[in-house]
Symmetry: C2
Subunit: 392 residues, 2 copies
Amino acid sequence: MRPPAPPPARWRTRPRDNPASVVTYDVRQGASRATINEVATGAGVSIKTVSRVMNGEPNVRRATRERVRRVATELGYEPNPQARALAGRRTFSIGLLYENPHEFGYVQRAFEGVFAACEAGRYTLLLRPCGDGSRGAGGPSAKEVLGFVTQTRVDGVILTAPLGDDKALLEALRANGTPVACIAPREADPRLCSVRARDRSASRALTEHLLSFGHRRIAFINGDPRHGASAERLAGFREGLRAAACRADERLFVDGGFDFPSGEDGARRLLGISPRPTAIAAANDEMAAGAIAAAHALGLRVPADISVVGFDDSPAASRTWPPLTTARQPVFEMAQATTADLIEQLRTAGTPRQRVFDCPLVLRGSVAAPAARKSGRAEPQHAATRSAHADS
Amino acid sequence: MRPPAPPPARWRTRPRDNPASVVTYDVRQGASRATINEVATGAGVSIKTVSRVMNGEPNVRRATRERVRRVATELGYEPNPQARALAGRRTFSIGLLYENPHEFGYVQRAFEGVFAACEAGRYTLLLRPCGDGSRGAGGPSAKEVLGFVTQTRVDGVILTAPLGDDKALLEALRANGTPVACIAPREADPRLCSVRARDRSASRALTEHLLSFGHRRIAFINGDPRHGASAERLAGFREGLRAAACRADERLFVDGGFDFPSGEDGARRLLGISPRPTAIAAANDEMAAGAIAAAHALGLRVPADISVVGFDDSPAASRTWPPLTTARQPVFEMAQATTADLIEQLRTAGTPRQRVFDCPLVLRGSVAAPAARKSGRAEPQHAATRSAHADS
DNA sequence: TCCCCAAATGACAACGCTATCAACCTTTGT
DNA sequence: ACAAAGGTTGATAGCGTTGTCATTTGGGGA
């Protein structure tokens, strides 16, 4: 329920002894806009015909259509979205929900993709943080999200990273009949639009890249376990080691939370282990950047003393020194694609679509051969594997 | 004018030979929500009284008010915002416009502040990039912004950084009667809400901080000239030098664009100058991070060989190695404050308010005394100046 | 030429709320 | 006890669209 808002100023503003019954308050859009009625009159048709033209509906004679369009342009007519929503029972708006403020770079890129698709589809986008990110775990209650949906009346929502795995939330949205698209959910529910990256294979490729330089003691900083991507990236890492018959030292696995400080922490701990790992793979770039900072703080050179790889190719990846070798998650494209799918579903009541994107490696300066110790090789064994970049 | 949207699926979906006249299309909010009528009936009052209660209007008997509230809660009633907007001629939504994609960190923090204020004031927020940022100069046409305003019917807009200085845009918005709030405009127009930081004095304090460590050859990387803050920060820097009777070497001033690459470039050029500067002040943190990367690339140690300071205390500032000494621009608080002012103006038709915030220094690891050369001092001359952090 | 069907168009009732203003209660003062 | 002055409440008319369904128009074939 809507808590009472502070009383609008109308009452306060209007002087008690002012005999004029006209309300003095007026901080509104100045020029009153043309309405569908004026266009209809101007074009000599009914408002229904204008409506048809504005919405691209069929069964309007070409000449009529053009006349209406011309008059609408002349009058600078823009349909009132609120009236459309009220009469048409849909708002042509969607909500983009996100949770953790740490990884805002990710949300930013997702936002841009979603926004692009909304523009193209003439939908309005509402960006909405939810769940107390600072509170850490817990996540947003389904109630909070549902409140947002019923308050704003968005036609559908897009859930970023960990939200798409919240069973209670998904169930609540389903019960409410709200179409949903998930970005990077743990698994692709066929009843929902979704888009995922091939985290596992990209992570494996990254691992093979390190192995190809001769690294054998590679540490791994895991991501936030609430994100499906974390497990996939870890699995890809292990796959890579296994395929190269490289035994994993379990001490070289630490947990992180996808943010810079956790990468710093994790790396500090890892670099204290003896024998020291020669490379660190972090489950995302933020943590990799933290790892680089930790290495610097310990007086180690990157990549001479320690190689580091990240994941995502976020802006942070090109802002470290040295810049990060990583795998590019095409977040913009992913977000754009699934948003377009959602809008398509909204329009046509078609079936939801699931997509998967590849993450090509991006080779930069944070990897080198391990320093010759007892068994070190100075040169990489072979060129880096590059997975193709293509939409499936 | 609204270009024709692709035809909704209703026509395509409905089979031609389907005798049922009921439209088969239905991807809408499932459960139909309670309306004001049902609440009115349930509480045994007229809809007008329900409206009064929901809007916190006066002149409703306490008992009636409570009864209405109870029924509304029971029914899970949420006023339909579109109907409210249509009838009340205001949407209770505002738009946050931003231009440059480079500095998204800034926009992010601004967004959070604006969002917080909108939540508190029960306004909906529309985030809207505008102007082709990649196109560099040019900026968004007033037309584009006006199109956004008339299409969405937002009640007011907030303009971030360089937008608040676009005369044509401001004039167009004024003519349209749209209330405006500006974040970090060049000057505070008394007819508009605005919020600025004391860029000049903070920049001066930062400069004095460097001087106190014994630096005399300090270079400056300027920001995007379209931002008012750039000139202020430069002026503060010069003031600081002048006050210390430190003559400025004009070769040590380079232009930047507030982004990482321009900081990198600028620093590379500066570090090639002989005699080399012992410190670099960048007009923001992104560029300072670029400067640090450039220094590293040239094999210089920060801060042993070269000190660096930034501005803003953006997330980037604590992700560099070493972390940046900088001045904290309280973007969240600034954005929140001016948004609250705008909402207040929207509600009460009061006069717009202008605010100024201080930027306290944040001392981290990127500053040290210059390496002893011929006149170097090893120790700072006195403790760093810290400006107070207070809202004016 | 006339009829029939489909295409084209319009009339009008929603949609769910706010604004206006009249009407109805309470007080308060005398 | 009675009026005047407020406080409280409700009836009703929009707000600017879309949805439904009836009506008009335009051809083409018999």
